[in-house]
């Protein structure tokens, strides 16, 4: 599956999802990935077709899974956890 659009979701779409978006962008920058769109939103915007991949806090995993492939995070601000999970979807540069 080709991923062109990622939606980072949290309960309200105001705070935590934006922090996840920042970390996703950091991951893309680090790995030279430029052709994927990233945005953030509240869980109610996680609908089918809204994105190819949803990244969310583990709490709202079930809701996001209804919309499509989902990567749940146990610690929203943990870059290492995010990187480890995104590696399954994107090719990464080896140091």
């Amino acid at each position: 599956m080709e991923i062109k659009r990622i939606l980072c979701c949290c309960m309200s779409g105001l705070g935590s999802s934006f922090l996840v978006e920042m970390n996703v962008k950091k991951f893309f920058k680090k790995n030279g990935i430029t052709d994927v769109e990233v945005d953030h939103a509240g869980v109610y915007d996680a609908t089918k077709g809204a994105a190819d991949l949803f990244i969310c806090s583990a709490d709202i995993k079930e809701e996001c899974e209804k919309a499509g492939p989902t990567v749940p995070l146990n610690r929203l601000t943990d870059y290492d956890e995010l990187e480890g999970k995104l590696k399954e979807y994107f090719e990464v540069k080896t140091a």
Partner: protein
């Protein structure tokens, strides 16, 4: 100097508390000065508690840190931040592995205006050692200086 955090964080909303009997009281404590000074209505903390009862503590974003917030329409009057330390760590239901001392309460007036400020605040929120440092501060003035000068 253009200090984004100073624009959002008034000294009057930086507080250090000894303890809270439970997580509901902790939310009331952390939002008390915001209600008192007219940044949010009494509905705002009420909504945070209601959402927590339904979905769990959705604001525990890092070790020892909660980013409390509800939606703009839940009672935000003026955009603002509150910064609180509760010395005795607060335990949330089903999140017993992450007792929290540092609380940042966000009052956003829409979905986008606060993002630039949040990006700056992320330097603290994504850094475990800085969270630990702030959570251990017991003097509100020192806490204010630490965060406002990020």
């Amino acid at each position: 100097m253009n200090n984004l955090i100073a624009e959002y964080l008034k000294r009057e909303n930086v507080n250090v508390f000894e303890s809270a009997p439970n997580w509901r009281s902790a939310i009331m404590l952390c939002t008390d000065s915001l209600v008192k000074h007219g940044y949010v209505t009494e509905n705002y903390p009420k909504r945070i508690i209601e959402i927590t009862e339904t979905y769990g503590a959705y604001y525990l974003i890092a070790k020892d840190l909660a980013l409390l917030h509800a939606r703009p329409e839940d009672g935000v009057i003026k955009q603002q931040l509150a910064l609180s330390v509760i010395k005795q760590p607060v335990v949330f239901d089903n999140k017993e592995d992450n007792p929290v001392r540092l609380f940042i309460t966000l009052c956003a007036k829409d979905s986008v205006s606060h993002l630039e400020m949040l990006q700056k605040l992320a330097e603290l929120m994504m850094d475990e050692s800085r969270i630990e440092k702030c959570a251990s501060i017991t003097d509100p003035e020192e806490l204010y200086q630490e965060v406002v000068n990020l």
